[in-house]
């Protein structure tokens, strides 16, 4: 997902869940900041690098293919962008090493999603924002894993866009190109993707790179053959999935705002959306690669307040000018980093205790203490 959903749509969901404009801004800023908080950024502001929630393109390009680098990549991408759906999934006739990768495939409504939302309970608005990023991505990024793996994340040429035509559907062959200069062209069904790399651990085989940005566009419906799917095609209905993501965010945010009760997977707050259904569906289904303007207009019409543009440096000075480590923890970014470390520790711990070493060892306690020391 992109800024349109993580920032502006998250603002709308938070407002429909009952938060005030200022609270919504903190939540949606945190949700979007997950895509910006890289080790490079953290070293610039003097924050602990192990709180990184993403990796920049150049960081990925310079990452090694040794076990520690792969575990670092897996920790970041599985915790924040490709939350595993079932850490105990079973598939007959597979080796253990295959199963460990297969179990990291991202899916919505998994046990880890419930743990993510519950983990944000009673913490901070920043924690709620991070949880909303993770939740939304489970819908967009489903069927791909947050670890570099050819046998899981590869796709072939079999890609068709499914478009409504009167009362039926029409199929159009999708053409992929890989060039640094080209842009996606939905009108011609031409999209950019990462090239095929035969190496199992190539960074090109991380997440949905082989499917390009198709999972990030709310309007598109398409079918394809995932590498792990035993030649069974998957029909990905993004408009329906994005609508579920939006209503599940409202449900989760209401739970976090209440501060009590229980969060259950598979539940959606469609009632809160009903008065605005036509408008929301209109934005989601509109054929455009960036819906920021539409979501912003909708958000502003909901709250009557202006939603400022996302500014990555908005809270940087506050964090850097804090007198000491404990004061830093009280800043906006400090709270974000505490929540990020908590989320990463929780997911790493769950993956580790499931017997899967792809994300490394569980270092729950050590991560927290290193943050306090300001390393």
């Amino acid at each position: 997902m992109q800024k349109d959903f993580h920032y502006y749509a998250t603002y709308c969901a938070a407002y429909l869940a009952g938060f005030s404009h200022d609270e919504c801004m903190d939540i949606c800023y945190s949700a979007q900041f997950v895509d910006c908080c890289s080790a490079t950024y953290l070293s610039k502001i003097g924050a602990p690098r192990n709180a990184a929630t993403t990796q920049l393109q150049l960081e990925l390009m310079s990452a090694g293919s040794d076990i520690l680098s792969l575990q670092n990549i897996t920790r970041i991408w599985s915790s924040f962008h490709f939350l595993p759906g079932d850490l105990y999934a079973y598939r007959a006739g597979c080796t253990g090493i295959y199963l460990s990768k297969y179990r990291l495939i991202c899916r919505p409504n998994g046990m880890l999603l419930a743990a993510t939302v519950r983990n944000a309970m009673g913490r901070s608005l920043q924690a709620a924002g991070i949880a909303m990023h993770v939740l939304a991505d489970t819908w967009a990024h489903q069927n791909f894993a947050g670890t570099p793996s050819l046998v899981i994340n590869n796709t072939d040429d079999y890609f068709y866009e499914i478009m409504p035509l009167d009362d039926a559907y029409d199929e159009h062959r999708i053409t992929f190109r890989h060039s640094t200069t080209l842009k996606d062209d939905p009108d011609e069904h031409i999209y950019v993707n990462s090239p095929y790399q035969g190496s199992e651990h190539s960074i090109m085989n991380l997440g949905h790179g082989r499917a390009g940005h198709l999972p990030d566009y709310s309007f598109i419906r398409y079918k394809y053959l995932p590498a792990w799917g035993d030649y069974e095609e998957i029909v990905k209905d993004n408009p329906a999935d994005y609508l579920r993501a939006f209503t599940q965010m409202i449900y989760a945010l209401k739970y976090l705002r209440r501060g009590s009760g229980s969060f259950e997977v598979g539940r959606y707050d469609t009632d809160a959306m009903i008065p605005h259904r036509a408008q929301i569906e209109g934005i989601i289904r509109k054929r455009q690669t960036d819906s920021c303007d539409d979501w912003r207009s909708f958000g502003q019409s909901l709250s009557g307040c202006e939603i400022e543009d996302f500014d990555i440096d908005k809270y940087q000075a506050e964090y850097m000018q804090a007198e000491n480590a404990s004061r830093r923890d009280e800043t906006f970014l400090g709270k974000f980093l505490t929540a990020a470390l908590s989320q990463k520790s929780m997911v790493t711990h769950e993956i580790f205790t499931s017997g899967n070493l792809l994300a490394g060892f569980s270092i729950d306690g050590r991560l927290r203490s290193s943050l306090k020391k300001g390393k």
Binding site: H6, R177, A227, W228
Partner: protein
């Protein structure tokens, strides 16, 4: 391509250039050594591909291609080993044959890259055409067995040429989808 892959490619390219130069300096030993190194690399690569298929790619859509590639390359590696101690002329012919084969593969890759508008198609085409041209010239010279050393020199030139292009391709930008 990651930084590590680029470094590996550059080291391989430098190794190929050094090997090509050594071959021109010591043509009698050079060809046999090249065949041996090629054989070991192909055999190890073939084994790795087969093991990868058994442990992981068996369950992957299109994974059987990895098995076929592994078996063919392993076979080629073992066959190269059997010819490496033959008369120099046969070894040279064999190596040139492989060089020709790589040239064709490069041209096929170039066609595929052009189809998907990847900018690498030009480099692949130049590599392929260069390899084929060198091989054809070498076969023409080889008609006269008295000029066998020319055959070795031409093969060495092909290896140096491939080494340079490998280094060049390591310095190119690669498209990568940035996930958000």
């Amino acid at each position: 391509m990651t930084v590590v892959q680029r470094i590996k490619n550059i080291i391989t390219g430098v190794g190929m250039i050094a090997g090509g130069i050594l071959m021109t300096l010591y043509p009698d030993m050079g060809i046999g050594a090249a065949a041996l190194i090629l054989s070991i690399s192909l055999t190890l690569y073939g084994f790795r591909q087969i093991i990868y298929y058994i442990t992981l790619a068996r369950k992957m859509v299109g994974g059987r291609r990895i098995l076929y590639r592994g078996v063919i390359i392993l076979d080629l590696g073992l066959f190269t080993l059997t010819v490496s101690d033959n008369t120099k002329v046969y070894v040279a012919f064999y190596l040139l044959g492989i060089h020709f084969f790589y040239g064709i593969i490069d041209i096929l890759r170039s066609r595929e890259a052009r189809r998907i508008n990847a900018p690498s198609w030009k480099l692949s085409l130049i590599t392929g055409l260069g390899n084929i041209m060198i091989t054809v010239i070498a076969f023409i010279f080889a008609a006269d067995l008295r000029t066998l050393n020319v055959l070795v020199y031409l093969y060495a030139a092909g290896v140096i040429y491939s080494g340079f292009l490998r280094i060049l391709s390591s310095l190119r930008r690669t498209a990568i989808i940035y996930i958000q």
